[in-house]
């Protein structure tokens, strides 16, 4: 894990500090487009997403339903289901061997290289831990199998490692729990086992897709703590995908905000929460119910609802709901993600002028 060591262990954002500019990203996604070709036409699930993941850092991807955050994760792992396809863009990943970065988007989705990376170097934790396990095997069996799939170790050693892993994720009495079936565990424990399984091959990137959405708040706090603790120990990078601004505030170093397949804003977590630039980020933050509010106060709202992916508005996809909508600009041209400050980028015509030719379609 040489890549991780280049950077100083760094978890809490400190105001004003530059963000790991000296570190080459471990994963960089450029202009990723993943479309789903359905009978009703192409759905642009991810439409030109760009971001970078730095060693030892946590990237938060936040957005509401249909924003393409999960499809982005699936695209990185190349497990997008039919009829979805990566149609454009690159996903550059620096492998552990230190060679030239490989473009995951160009790999054969069923080939050996992506299989070695998936689960070995990039691991995934799902939202629903119950459905990600086979109900017919003990949790131990499933983790041992994963270890043996990616590493050349014997069964006994794999089992010892599994027990260690279960202990590491805070499962009480792991020697006994290892032989239990997934249904015997509570939701919180199952999510811990899921994390143990993801960690079993020392991944360099852990993608956590809504890891706490199905859990209660007190359990959520436990799992988030666990994730952060493991990250501090292993120096892996984490991509956390969620709709919950609270989880992002808690976990992320850098944030990208997505809306209908597009990255509308990106930047360090403190900037995003305290100096949001894009009208969507601003409105979203204002509309979140707050535990600090006075009782019985009305919230500022974002008008309307998220359009169905089939009826994506022309121009900036947020313009029909935007308070700063500029007729003739926002509904005709697609804004690009451009720097708005030293560390922050936004995709909005408040900060840059549209290119000359109006968008076709």
């Amino acid at each position: 894990m040489a890549g991780g060591m280049l950077c100083r262990p760094y978890n809490r954002p400190v105001k004003g500090e530059m963000y790991a500019m000296n570190c080459a990203p471990i994963l960089s996604v450029n202009n990723l487009k993943t479309y789903f070709f359905t009978d009703e036409g192409a759905v642009r699930a991810v439409d030109g997403a760009s971001f970078a993941v730095h060693p030892g850092k946590t990237l938060g991807i936040v957005g509401e339903s249909g924003c393409g955050k999960s499809v982005t994760a699936l695209s990185i792992l190349r497990i997008v289901d039919d009829p979805g396809r990566i149609v454009e863009g690159e996903i550059m990943f620096r492998r552990a061997d230190g060679g030239e970065p490989v473009d995951l988007a160009k790999l054969d989705a069923k080939g050996g290289e992506i299989r070695a990376i998936r689960g070995g170097e990039i691991a995934l934790v799902f939202q629903e831990p119950m459905t990600s396990f086979s109900p017919h095997y003990t949790i131990g069996n499933q983790i041992v199998e994963t270890i043996q799939l990616h590493q050349d170790v014997g069964k006994a050693e794999a089992r010892t490692r599994t027990i260690e892993l279960l202990r590491m994720v805070g499962i009480p009495r792991p020697e006994r729990r290892i032989d239990e079936y997934p249904f015997e565990l509570s939701g919180g424990l199952r999510q811990r086992v899921m994390i143990a399984m993801a960690l079993s091959c020392n991944p360099r990137i852990l993608i956590a897709d809504e890891p706490t959405t199905a859990l209660d708040v007190t359990t959520q706090a436990q799992i988030l703590d666990l994730l952060r603790e493991i990250q501090e120990r292993t120096q892996m990078s984490v991509i956390i995908i969620t709709h919950d601004m609270g989880v992002i505030a808690e976990m992320a170093d850098d944030v990208i905000v997505m809306y209908l397949g597009r990255v509308v804003e990106s930047g360090p977590v403190d900037e995003i929460f305290h100096r949001p630039q894009h009208p969507y980020t601003q409105a979203l933050l204002r509309s979140i119910p707050s535990i600090f509010a006075e009782p019985r106060t009305k919230l500022p709202t974002i008008a309307g609802s998220i359009p169905h992916p089939h009826n994506r508005p022309a121009g900036c996809p947020f313009h029909p709901r935007c308070a700063d909508f500029m007729p003739g600009k926002c509904d005709r041209h697609e804004p690009q993600l451009r720097p708005v400050s030293a560390s922050q980028m936004a995709s909005c015509f408040l900060y840059h002028e549209p290119a000359e030719a109006p968008q076709q379609s």
Binding site: D39, R286, F292, T297, A303, G304, N311, A323
Partner: protein, 387 residues
């Protein structure tokens, strides 16, 4: 009232109403589409199921017009025409469109002493549409002797052998047409009865629960443990002697449907149990909607489509059991004519080796079973358009 957050900028769209996304005519059509319309749109995309639906409709049309499509009396035996091979139709005669068949000359093979038939190209027998043949009652309504094809003057059964003949010299094509009618319809009453019993008892079981549910479930378990074939043999032996073979078979299918409803009942019970927990059913209950209306308005429409699909998948079972039981000699027996009975002739390997056309009755069985299964799959996929 202290506002914890800064006032919001009002956007141009923040009117009193939720802004309606601009909808096209096509979307508007979808938004007011009923369940059945959505199902039809979805089913239409399932090409194989559509074709299968047409195939099945064609088979039932054949069943209705079986006598008309047949050209020879299916029961008339003639030793001199035994085991004639299928005979091709020639459509052109010296460049002119004039469908005809060649006459056959029967000879005895000097070595095997078997009778063989050879076409005589000199003897051209022209075919006629809507020709006269044996007399039958169309749909049981009126007597006629018109058939789709025939020959001028003489009897069709002496000249045309589209699929050959069996050992007793009966024309196979004509027998297959007639068999189609019996095979496709004999089980319908049984399936209908199973359907009614299944929905009724499953519905009661799922709806009321408690002791009735337990009772019905135990009855289902007992019924399901009864082996069908021995029961079938026993019933066949117990039927009154003076009943015809078709009557006996019909009676047995009806009796067996008293056992066969269990699968459907379980499905219906499961649906009722699931629906009872649905939020929209609770909402109706809280609004004071009567139990009857909840069942008819909320519950039944939610699984009607599933029942249609389940029935479509039950029909091929009925056809295949007829074929299988008759082939084994347990179901229909001659003189009844069904696909299974026709296949009985092909039971012995020697016959099949010498006259393979006797197996041709297997083809419609395969086609119709496949078609029913594809149609059922298509219906099942389309059945829940909100999934």
């Amino acid at each position: 009232m202290t506002q914890a957050k800064p006032p919001v900028k009002r956007s141009a769209f923040d009117s009193q109403f939720d802004p309606a996304p601009s909808t096209t005519a096509a979307e508007e059509r979808v938004s007011v589409a009923t369940q059945w319309q959505l199902m039809w749109w979805r089913f239409r995309k399932h090409r194989l199921a559509m074709i299968s639906g047409i195939v099945i409709a064609a088979f039932y049309l054949v069943a209705i017009g079986a006598d008309f499509l047949a050209y020879a009396d299916p029961h008339k035996t003639e030793a001199f025409r035994s085991l004639i091979a299928p005979q091709p139709i020639h459509f052109f005669d010296e460049g002119r469109f004039s469908p005809h068949v060649f006459g056959l000359v029967g000879k005895r093979d000097p070595r095997t002493f078997k009778r063989v038939y050879e076409p005589d190209p000199e003897q051209k027998i022209p075919l006629r549409l809507f020709a006269e043949g044996y007399e039958y009652k169309f749909l049981g309504l009126f007597k006629t002797n018109r058939h789709l094809i025939g020959v001028d003057g003489g009897l069709a059964e002496e000249a045309i052998f589209l699929l050959g003949t069996d050992q007793l010299g009966r024309d196979l094509w004509s027998r297959m047409m007639i068999a189609c009618r019996l095979s496709l319809t004999i089980g319908l009453a049984g399936v209908t009865l199973s359907l009614v019993l299944g929905v009724l008892l499953g519905g009661i079981s799922g709806l009321y629960g408690g002791a009735i549910d337990t009772l019905i479930q135990r009855v289902i378990e007992i019924l399901r443990s009864i082996p069908t074939i021995p029961l079938w043999m026993g019933l066949a032996a117990a039927m009154p002697r003076d009943w015809g073979v078709v009557q006996v078979y019909f009676a047995i299918t009806v009796i067996l449907s008293l056992i066969g409803w269990t699968d459907l009942a379980r499905v219906v019970r499961g649906r009722f149990l699931a629906l009872r927990e649905e939020d929209f059913v609770l909402a109706a209950e809280l609004a004071g909607v009567s139990q009857m209306r909840i069942i008819l308005r909320h519950m039944v429409p939610s699984f009607l489509s599933h029942i249609i699909a389940a029935t479509t998948l039950a029909l091929p079972n009925m056809i295949i059991s007829e074929t299988a039981l008759s082939f084994l000699g347990l179901g229909l027996r001659p003189p009844a004519v069904s696909w299974g009975v026709l296949l009985q002739d092909a039971q012995n390997i020697q016959t099949v080796a010498i006259s393979p056309w006797l197996l041709s009755a297997a083809l419609p069985v395969i086609v119709v079973i496949l078609a029913f299964n594809f149609l059922g799959d298509g219906l099942r996929d389309a059945a829940d358009p909100y999934g």
